[in-house]
């Protein structure tokens, strides 16, 4: 155990006037995201966009599936990594309107590792693969878009047609989907 204070070096003069400050060291969240990003291995169907390369906490992921219901489409997700990363998962939203059982029309995504099953050992890469998987295997068991989920469960052909129709730009029921083909 060290003796922290010797009586001699006691004087600390703090000027009590607070100064607008900043930390000279990157935060633990920043150190971690630097590592996550530097080691990101994207599948060939995915790409990223960093509006400001100095800010690794805000970026977009673009997924262009090459198989499954959604092949040929282009879907953009926004990522926001908060100061409590990796204790808390990043906030992810789908910016492209998509006809999908696990993504609602406001862009909320139902992916377990984004909420209830998030663990600090998971990385941005895990989320990228999770999202990519959602396009290969949409899961009608955990619906966010209930209508789409019901169609997928009861009539796969119709579901496939609806997906194609929505990606070309058009109405499914009374909801209009913007064209999102690559």
């Amino acid at each position: 155990m060290i003796k922290l204070f010797s009586m001699k070096n006691q004087k600390k003069d703090g000027s009590d006037a607070p100064k607008q400050g900043s930390q000279k060291r990157a935060s633990a969240a920043q150190l971690r995201i630097t590592k996550d990003i530097n080691e990101l291995t994207l599948p060939k169907t995915c790409d990223t966009e960093f509006p400001d390369p100095d800010d690794l906490l805000t970026f977009k992921l673009i997924i262009c599936p090459d198989e499954g219901f959604y092949r040929g489409g282009r879907f953009v997700f926004s990522f926001k990594v908060g100061p409590n990363y990796p204790h808390e998962p990043p906030k992810v939203k789908c910016e492209t309107m998509v006809y999908h059982p696990n993504i609602d029309l406001e862009g909320n995504v139902c992916l377990n590792i984004l909420r209830e099953d998030w663990k600090p050992v998971l990385t941005i890469n895990s989320i990228v693969y999770g999202l990519q998987y959602l396009f290969l295997e949409p899961n009608p068991e955990d619906p966010l878009n209930k209508e789409a989920a019901e169609v997928l469960q009861n009539n796969r052909r119709l579901f496939e047609q609806n997906v194609v129709k929505s990606m070309k730009g058009g109405y499914i029921g009374n909801v209009y989907f913007d064209r999102c083909l690559k």
């Binding site: 003796k3 922290l4 600390k12 900043s22 080691e39 790409d47 909320n108």
Partner: protein, 440 residues
């Protein structure tokens, strides 16, 4: 007249018990401890203690420290007083509702405890810079936020000075951290750079409970699911107050709106139990506070501050858990420092460069030298409090944007003496820190 005399006598005898601890040796005194009347004087005249948080724990901490003899106290808190605080945050009265906690707490202590001076800051801890934090001998935390704890932990670690890889112990500012959750609590002593830190033990904090989004959206079963539905799905869709207005858990209009919508949702699904209180709890993620737990944890923390400041006794080593939900249970153990902790395992290594070196030369040092043998290092510098990406190997979109930096010199990139560069590489489990040293 008689009253005044009685008071004077009482204050006069005030330090009798503290003196017994500081002016005599004992079986538990620290080996280096020299009993002396000067210690009390030093404690009263020189030691600057920063208390972070003026809430449930903060009120207890300030009262305990002031009564113990510390006279130079500082308190930071960004909150204002709410009616619901008054049952346990005993420095506040009904007339104080709406005022900053730090200000009222300081006023109360300054008025009540002779010779004690509390300076208050109605601020976020992030508003202050390293110079401010360096001016304290000790920091005590009574916080309910993990983000804030991680921030102050990072700040105190960044103040450490190393000479030839050896820690300069005079740069260590101990952090005494208290936390409570209902009937459970913990107190711990962190000597930044020497013992385990907040980041080492991040998995001790219970993860936030997040319900699956699809359950919230379509199959709610609990009143909390209904409140979360309004918070996460309905609010961003309806923007009831104005476009892009985030939810303010302290705004009663916001809470009432959420409460009403959640009640409707609950009725639709035949769920009972949505109350205004629960709404507030879910939105603000409140964990019920128990006054007695706060008192115990704050007392433990202040005892540690006293020990660290005076060396009268060896400090706790280093983590104490407490639980009084069913009888009383308490246990103290040594929380070990994590070898690869992103925050505290890092002794920034010196990176000797000349101003004319190019970034690619620096990367070559990291990959080619026997000492580092990195594979694909990604470099990010911290310049004037902002992160600046120097070079990253992936993803392609960012690599392309940063590639021109490879040909730029240290000078052109603005890498001054003392600037820290975080280097991430697959060969190390966490990011490694370097400190730029310019060749003369």
């Amino acid at each position: 007249m008689t009253v005044a005399v009685a008071m004077a006598v009482e204050w006069g005898a005030r330090w009798v018990e503290v003196r017994k601890l500081l002016e005599r040796p004992g079986p538990f005194t620290h080996p280096d401890f020299e009993p002396s009347p000067d210690t009390l004087k030093m404690m009263q005249e020189n030691i600057r203690v920063l208390v972070i948080g003026a809430g449930g724990l903060g009120c207890e901490l300030l009262k305990d420290l002031a009564l113990m003899g510390f006279t130079n106290l500082h308190v930071v808190d960004m909150d204002t007083i709410d009616l619901s605080n008054l049952n346990r945050q005993f420095l506040f009265r009904k007339k104080d509702i709406g005022r900053p906690k730090a200000e009222v707490a300081a006023e109360f202590i300054n008025q009540r405890i002779q010779d004690c001076h509390v300076t208050h800051y109605y601020n976020k801890i992030q508003d202050f810079d390293d110079e401010f934090y360096r001016s304290f001998h000790l920091v005590v935390c009574g916080l309910d936020s993990i983000v804030a704890r991680r921030w102050i932990n990072g700040m105190l670690l960044s103040l450490l000075c190393y000479e030839d890889g050896m820690l300069d112990q005079s740069s260590v500012i101990p952090l005494v951290d208290g936390g409570t959750e209902g009937f459970k609590g913990n107190a711990r002593v962190i000597l930044p750079g020497l013992t385990s830190c907040i980041e080492c033990t991040l998995d001790l904090f219970p993860p936030q409970i997040n319900f699956p989004l699809c359950t919230i959206a379509h199959t709610p079963r609990l009143p909390e699911h209904c409140i979360e539905w309004v918070r996460l799905l309905l609010w961003p869709k309806e923007n009831p107050f104005s476009e892009e207005m985030p939810i303010d858990g302290d705004d009663p209009h916001h809470l009432s709106w959420i409460f009403e919508k959640a009640q409707k949702r609950a009725a639709e699904f035949g769920i009972t139990g949505v109350t205004y209180r629960l709404t507030q709890g879910v939105v603000k993620r409140i964990i019920p506070a128990v006054a007695s737990t706060n008192a115990v944890i704050a007392a433990a923390c202040c005892t540690e501050v006293f020990k660290l400041a005076t060396s009268a006794c060896t400090p706790m080593n280093n983590y104490c858990v407490f639980n009084d939900s069913d009888g009383i249970y308490t246990y103290t153990y040594e929380q070990e420092k994590k070898e690869d902790c992103v925050a505290c395992s890092q002794v920034p290594q010196e990176l000797l460069v000349s101003p004319s070196d190019k970034l690619q030369d620096i990367i070559a040092i990291l990959t080619d030298s026997l000492r580092y043998q990195m594979k694909k290092p990604g470099l990010q510098a911290m310049v004037d409090g902002k992160t600046k990406s120097l070079y990253l190997h992936s993803p392609a979109s960012i690599e392309e944007k940063l590639r021109p930096n490879l040909k730029k010199t240290v000078e052109e990139l603005g890498l001054r003496d003392g600037i820290e560069i975080a280097v991430a590489d697959v060969t190390s489990p966490s990011t490694v820190l370097f400190k730029v040293k310019l060749k003369k």
